[in-house]
């Protein structure tokens, strides 16, 4: 068997020559050639089958006994999700509005033009569901922002109450109203905003109860204790998420990594070791290499964090442009009254609107009943006009609301970590900023940015952003290079350019993977062999089809 390859090569060569030279000019000669081919083919199919069985048995004997850590990772993830919910509810930076998730719905209804009609129904149902969570059952009487809102919502609530939840009638009514009052959805939004404000106490108390429940369930005494617990869970998760050999093998098997790169003489591997393993380190010494790997694990986390920072750098720059001029100086600042002023304006205008609506709904414009149908028409038009003005006022209100939150924390030492927390706490404004900065109008795309931002903001193991000032320029690549030169890892600043980060991460991962395999019960060669056998088996299965 030791010479099986040699035997096969020679035998194949001889038989190729034989087959190629056999004549086929006559029927008898062709028949004879066919018989010869069939005989050789039969023999070689037997060789192939025996070889496949052998290779498979051998590959199976190399299978790893080490257990994958995916179960541990998923358990830690579950705990983190649960504690993130507690953190979300206890977050001292925002209010019941954000904790109830109304800001998410307000953003959606505010951008209804991006969605289709069915999703508008979902948004309205989303609002109603949240009210019901706090035991507030809204009826048609609660929707009197304008007579059109009342008409639409009466039909909507009727459809919602029915088991079939068919919204066909709602669509019909919408169609009718839309041509008289195209801003109907904006006015539904305003009605919900008013109802949310009106029920503030009930929502606050609901949130308070919820906070008590989740704190008890998760054995957390307060917000800070929750943060501490999360911090240690994230550290544990980072450790558990370190790639195991079975995981590396699965990556190689799925073709997610190039198994050739693991080989000792591979150029990519040689280059990765030259870049990342300090000179003078004995690469055959497991203890020395373990120290290098510990440092590389940290570098990997730093690079991943820096990569996320770069992704959201336009957002941070945007914030800087908007708010740097408002950073309080040393002199006495005049008190900010913007939010209160706009709240007062809204209240006054909503009272005016209320008066008009009362006349419309009671059918009495003053002391006398409507004289003509025209009086009613006029009042309806006036109410729509007032609602339009209110919609504009609410736009200013939103700006002032966020400005108020910003001013509460704004100072010249504000860090990127503070900013991450600010946007994480106010989903509505985070999405608005994403929309503006990245010029996206598709809701699913905005949500993707938003989710990715939250993952970055929520990670308590972030290091770089904690001390990074928003209003000062900082050379992060230089900081990273200097830090790792203390560990004798000489990185070139150009490797930390945004377009080179993935390549650097790949190099780090390659060294970590090779070293992980070297310290295990298997070897790079066995992994290579198993992957090749997998490919052969797949090819064999494909041929049998």
């Amino acid at each position: 068997m030791n010479n099986f390859l040699e035997f096969i090569k020679k035998d194949i060569e001889a038989k190729r020559t034989l087959v190629s030279t056999l004549p086929t000019k006559t029927k008898t000669a062709a028949k004879k050639k066919n018989q010869t081919i069939a005989s050789i083919e039969g023999k070689y199919l037997q060789y192939k089958s025996g070889l496949v069985n052998y290779l498979l048995a051998k590959s199976r004997s190399f299978e790893l006994k080490e257990v994958d850590n995916s179960e541990e990772v998923s358990k830690l993830n579950e705990k983190i999700v649960s504690l993130e919910h507690v953190k979300f509810l206890l977050n001292p930076s925002n209010t019941y509005l954000e904790k109830m998730g109304f800001d998410v719905l307000l953003y959606q209804i505010n951008h209804y033009s991006t969605f289709n009609f069915n999703s508008l129904n979902d948004i309205i149902n989303g609002f109603l569901d949240k009210f019901e969570l706090a035991n507030i059952l809204l009826t048609a009487d609660d929707f009197h922002y304008t007579c059109y809102v009342h008409e639409y919502m009466s039909t909507f609530l009727e459809a919602r109450r029915k088991k079939t939840r068919s919204y066909d009638k709602v669509s019909e009514i919408f169609e009718q109203i839309y041509w008289i009052n195209p801003e109907i959805i904006e006015h539904i939004e305003l009605n919900f905003r008013k109802l949310i404000k009106l029920n503030e106490k009930k929502f606050t108390s609901y949130i308070y109860q919820l906070q008590k429940e989740v704190m008890e369930q998760n054995k957390v005494a307060n917000y800070n204790a929750c943060l501490e617990k999360l911090q240690s869970l994230y550290v544990e998760l980072n450790l558990a998420k370190k790639e195991t050999v079975p995981f590396i093998l699965s990556l190689a098997r799925n073709g997610e990594i190039d198994v050739e790169q693991l080989q000792v003489d591979n150029k990519a591997r040689i280059n990765a070791y030259q870049t990342l393993v300090p000179q003078g380190v004995n690469q055959e010494d497991p203890l020395e290499m373990e120290k290098v790997c510990t440092t590389l694990e940290k570098l990997k986390l730093n690079i991943e964090e820096y990569d996320q920072y770069i992704q959201f750098l336009p957002l941070f720059k945007h914030f800087k442009e908007e708010y740097e001029k408002l950073v309080p100086g040393e002199g006495k600042e005049s008190e900010y009254k913007g939010l209160k002023e706009i709240e007062a304006k809204i209240e006054a205008k909503e009272n005016e609107l209320d008066k008009i609506n009362k006349k419309i709904f009671s059918g009495k414009p003053g002391f006398f009943e409507f004289k003509t149908e025209n009086d009613l028409k006029h009042l309806k038009a006036e109410s729509v006009l007032k609602a339009k003005e209110l919609y504009e006022l609410y736009k200013t209100y939103d700006q002032e609301y966020f400005k108020d939150k910003v001013l509460a924390i704004l100072n010249n030492t504000l860090t990127i970590a503070d900013l991450l927390h600010l946007y994480y706490s106010f989903d509505y404004f985070k999405k608005l900023a994403i929309q503006e900065v990245y010029q996206v109008s598709d809701y699913s795309e905005i949500s993707k940015y938003s989710e990715s931002f939250d993952l970055f903001a929520m990670n308590p193991t972030n290091l770089i952003v904690n001390g990074l000032p928003v209003f000062e320029e900082t050379d992060i690549p230089k900081i990273i290079v200097n830090k790792y030169s203390l560990n004798n890892i000489r990185l070139d600043e150009s490797t930390l350019e945004p377009s080179n980060l993935q390549s650097l991460l790949n190099k780090i991962l390659l060294v970590l993977r090779v070293e992980k395999i070297k310290r295990s019960t298997t070897s790079v060669e066995k992994i290579w062999f198993m992957v090749q056998v997998d490919k052969i088996m797949a090819q064999d299965q494909e041929a049998k089809k």
Binding site: M1, L5, S20, T24, E41
Partner: protein
């Protein structure tokens, strides 16, 4: 193959295992060659 197989030492070195993979590929190529030859004969008979 039976006789050849019997000679296989299950503890072959990895280098030898790699040779087996190469042998598999050679056999596969050769089987494809035989298929093509058969096809040629069939095509000629049709003519």
């Amino acid at each position: 193959m039976r006789k050849e197989e019997e000679k296989i030492d299950f503890d072959l070195s990895l280098l030898q295992l790699n040779e087996l993979i190469e042998a598999y590929r050679d056999i596969n190529d050769f089987l494809n060659f035989l298929e093509e030859e058969k096809q040629e004969i069939e095509d000629e008979e049709m003519v």
